[in-house]
Symmetry: C2
Subunit: 157 residues, 2 copies
Amino acid sequence: MDAIDRTLIELLRDNARLSYAELARQVGLSPPSVHDRLGKLESTGVIKAYRADVDPEAIGLGVTAMIMIVQEPGHEIEDMTIRFRQQPEIESCYFMAGHESFLLIARLGTIAELEQLIGRINRVPGVASTRTTIALSTKWEQRPQPHRKPPAAATPG
Amino acid sequence: MDAIDRTLIELLRDNARLSYAELARQVGLSPPSVHDRLGKLESTGVIKAYRADVDPEAIGLGVTAMIMIVQEPGHEIEDMTIRFRQQPEIESCYFMAGHESFLLIARLGTIAELEQLIGRINRVPGVASTRTTIALSTKWEQRPQPHRKPPAAATPG
DNA sequence: AGCGTCCGGTCGATGGCGTCCACGGACGAG
DNA sequence: CTCGTCCGTGGACGCCATCGACCGGACGCT
């Protein structure tokens, strides 16, 4: 995980469809070498996936909701997580510090679907209460941020 | 935006580095045709970007925080949004229904950096108060979900 | 110092891919 | 019917992905 790896990651966070050849030019290595480095970054879990970032409204998921969950004592966090995972509408699931133990971010087509999802969540053992707010608008999402340490200089001759 | 487009989107949400040739095989069209469709989906904003999904901890961003903001009357939402956008640590920004007007999701290296970020946010005009909780663990994030309508069958025969 | 080994790089080859262009059928409007 | 538009196909050509062989520096042992 050196400066060149960090540069590769940063380039791919901006555009995951860059060719190995283009990446190689940007970091000043040969394409097979880039191929090798990315293979390692993928297999060690640094790069988890390559995803198309799609406008949710365009695929019928115009409603974004944040669901916060207060936990009842005497229930396993893992069991609750598994039950939440079974709801495909839940895009992200965080276990939180504070009064509310879980934050779920859900993506749905309609408010009616949200109502049904909340109903299903309330039936999960260990859920004491839920509090839901919906996003009126998304200003931005998943913006990549620069790394702490400056990325590689492509060591010119 | 037909069933084939939806299939392409779903395939690319799982793996944004699939080749045009592979996509073409999956949907039963020729590669140039897929190229054409994706170009349209990109230029109409349905596909916003292709991103590598990176383990935040691997790039020194092990702290995930949710910052909720109560708004003071008499300030423009847009002005506040612009100020928030200037903080690179803020990965996502939602304008919410409810008592707290904004939900910010921030990614940082240390708690000390979080403290500084909260300080900067509190200095933004229009911020009446902030409430922050940190994620103790991320159960999952950005999981793609299936579309409402069934995706394309690659019309055999 | 001399040597073996490992790691990570380059180079070369080849099969497949990306992408441009010209062409053609389906379909609706006049 | 005729035309225009849309959306697809196929061919061509240059570039890319990817594998294997080889190379050189770093390091540890004798």
